[in-house]
């Protein structure tokens, strides 16, 4: 997995609550057996009209937000479907950090697994950042995960909180499966015990 240390670039404001994963990446992108090119489908119906032409007013279709690296969103971002295509499409577009007052649980876990940093921040602070991001002259921001800070174009910075395990995983790009496989003996011991306490769960 890619590591996450620092990230600099335009931050795009998306001041809407409850943006669900169907809106982040709609169903027509789910039938492929590839992650490639999903960035094109990110926030599809906001970005394209029904003839698949770009909607010029939408934030990600404007300069400099076409190269947005950070997304500022409303509460409960990523609710709904468990599709991991949501973080895949954000990452493929180039957005590796989303800042919002809250995120849905499954989306939250899926982002950690894909090196996408989610920052939970109180609404008033998110609103302040959105106001800066709304202006192309002040939308550049730098996220420093180690320092847990977001520095804005004018030079001031705000700090953010993150659980230590998530920070560690993101900074080191750890492969969860390899870490878990190192506990193979403990898993086997659990299974051996469960075979005696709940034998009906073993059908092999």
């Amino acid at each position: 997995m890619k590591t996450f240390t620092t990230l600099s670039g335009p931050a795009a404001p998306l001041p809407m609550i409850n943006v669900d994963t169907d809106q982040i990446i709609p169903k027509q992108y789910l039938s492929a057996i590839s992650r490639a090119g999903l960035g094109k489908g990110l926030l599809h119906d906001f970005r394209y009209d029904s003839a698949d032409k770009e909607k010029p007013d939408f934030i990600l279709n404007r300069e400099p937000y076409r190269d947005a690296k950070i997304l500022l969103a409303g509460d409960n971002f990523g609710c709904g479907s468990s599709r991991e295509h949501a973080p895949w499409s954000l990452d493929d577009f180039g957005i590796r950090c989303v800042i919002a007052p809250g995120f849905a649980d499954i989306f939250f876990n899926n982002c950690v697994k894909n090196g996408v940093l989610l920052i939970v921040m109180e609404e008033a602070k998110v609103n302040e950042l959105m106001a800066l991001a709304d202006n192309p002259q002040s939308c550049e921001m730098t996220v420093d995960l180690e320092a847990q800070s977001i520095t804005v174009a004018a030079g001031s910075s705000v700090s953010f909180e993150i659980e230590s395990f998530r920070k560690h995983r993101l900074m080191n790009g750890l492969d969860d499966i390899e870490i878990t496989l190192q506990k193979d003996a403990e898993i086997s011991a659990f299974e051996a015990k469960q075979k005696t306490t709940m034998p009906w769960l073993y059908r092999g």
């Binding site: 709904g80 991991e84 878990t180 299974e191």
Partner: protein, 469 residues
């Protein structure tokens, strides 16, 4: 800390393999259900990394999301979907995964076939790469949806690294009025707690109105728990649960059944167990519910009206309501009963079970759907379909003008060609009224099967109780 444990505490603590230094737990997973859309990355990665599948006796695969509901024998027309479907078959063959194939009578939506096959049992941990895995919590098991990376983690290790969620308790006491269902109950709950109300929690549903529900009704309630923000819903196992599970193909039998039941009886929350959050609702006050907006929390009783953005609590809320009204083509204060529909969809993992088919048929019996409305009924599995046909429900529905389809996810996710056109308005028994969910610029109103059938017959939303013969 209190020694009284909740149902959730008991299941969680019985499945912790290891506690990690960072506060997460390595949790053992007893049953993993899988389907074509979210499983391919896991199999691909196992193949590339040379990792093995840890347990194929704790895994069950079924295709459901992309399959057609007409002429399934004719195969999948869309090439991308067909490749995805065939990839599932290939992966199951290569890794020796138990698979229920497309034309098998047992095939159906993954969350319908799990319980039908007895894979869903009290006290277990259960996952699937699908957010509606919450459904299975109706049996008193800890069941939650995961993404594709976590699917791979379970395939390779039979465990997941998880942060322990908090306990939330929702009590629904009293008696649901006649004609009001589990669907109305869960919509009313989501309307109360909001779509993020359960975030970070597991919700246990308790109370006399929950106890009175059939397993089908309980599954509908737990299914939409994710729409209230909680990954898992739970209902303690009781005699209703045991009667449903007994005799199913994957359920324990003979002395193992007795041992399992003995354990299952220890699962209900201890008296005095504490919860981080508690809510209560009076079942007697719940009327048939209809969503008006683009989030499941946008819900009102059938005798209600579309809300007015002017009375919203803040600017974001006002914008959200206005955007929803614009998208849905509705006006503030419009009575729900005045909303005309074009389509009705009865099915999905929320409402594709036999009880749902019966409810639709009961309303449809001796009536005809309104001119200009088209309506489809999609049983959740081949077994539901066969049972419904044995009861003659298909004939009743066909005579009333409904289409009777073959099982699958169908227009709940609209990946298989069953899709709404732009601007079409649908009374749907599915679980999400998100923008574009059932087709770009389509308009979804979530309702119970009886309410969907009633709307199809009248051509607009109507209190199903006013149709009662």
């Amino acid at each position: 800390m209190s020694t009284q444990k909740t149902l959730f505490d008991k299941i969680w603590e019985n499945h912790v393999v290891a506690e990690n230094d960072d506060g997460t737990s390595l949790l053992y997973i007893d049953m993993h259900l899988t389907h074509e859309v979210t499983s391919w990355p896991g199999f691909e990665s196992m193949r590339n990394s040379g990792r093995r599948l840890r347990r194929n006796d704790a895994l069950l695969a079924v295709p459901d999301h992309v399959i057609p509901t007409i002429d399934q024998a004719g195969g999948i027309k869309d090439e991308s979907s067909r490749v995805q479907f065939e990839t599932l078959l290939k992966n199951c063959a290569e890794f020796d995964v138990p698979l229920i194939p497309l034309l098998d009578k047992r095939q159906g939506i993954v969350h319908i076939i799990g319980p039908e096959q007895g894979a869903t049992q009290p006290g277990i941990t259960m996952v699937c790469g699908d957010s509606h895995t919450a459904t299975h919590g109706a049996f008193g098991c800890l069941a939650f949806g995961i993404g594709s990376s976590e699917v791979e983690h379970v395939l390779s290790t039979q465990t997941l690294v998880q942060k322990r969620p908090k306990n939330m308790r929702i009590a629904i006491d009293g008696e649901l009025p006649l004609g009001v269902t589990g669907k109305d109950m869960i919509l009313a709950i989501i309307g109360t707690i909001g779509t993020a109300g359960g975030t970070g929690h597991v919700i246990e549903y308790v109370g006399s109105a929950i106890r009175a529900l059939s397993m089908e009704g309980r599954m509908t309630v737990c299914n939409m728990t994710i729409e209230g923000g909680a990954r898992a819903g739970l209902i303690a196992p009781d005699e209703t649960t045991l009667a449903y599970v007994k005799g199913r193909p994957l359920a324990p039998s003979d002395e193992l059944w007795d041992a399992a039941v003995k354990y299952w009886r220890t699962l209900p929350s201890d008296p005095g167990a504490t919860y981080d959050k508690e809510i209560s609702l009076d079942a007697n006050m719940i009327a048939p519910q209809v969503t008006w907006g683009t989030s499941p929390e946008d819900v009102v009783p059938i005798d209600g009206r579309v809300p007015d953005p002017a009375v919203a609590k803040d600017e974001k809320q006002r914008d959200a309501i206005q955007q929803a009204l614009d998208y849905m083509g509705l006006t503030a204060n419009q009575p729900i009963e005045d909303i005309k529909i074009d389509r009705a969809f009865i099915g999905s993992c929320t409402n594709g079970r036999i009880e749902d088919m019966r409810a639709a048929a009961e309303v449809a019996k001796g009536r005809k759907i309104a001119a200009g409305v088209s309506a489809m009924v999609v049983p959740g599995s081949g077994l539901v379909k066969a049972q419904a046909e044995a009861e003659g429900l298909d004939k009743i529905l066909l005579e009333a003008g409904f289409e009777w389809r073959e099982p699958g996810c169908s227009m709940c996710i609209a990946m298989n060609g069953d899709i709404l056109k732009a601007g079409e308005r649908c009374a749907s028994t599915s679980n999400r009224n998100f923008k574009g969910r059932q087709g770009r610029d389509s308009r979804t109103h979530l309702v119970s099967p009886a309410m969907a059938a009633a709307a199809a017959i009248e051509g607009h939303f109507v209190d199903v109780r006013s149709l009662a013969s």
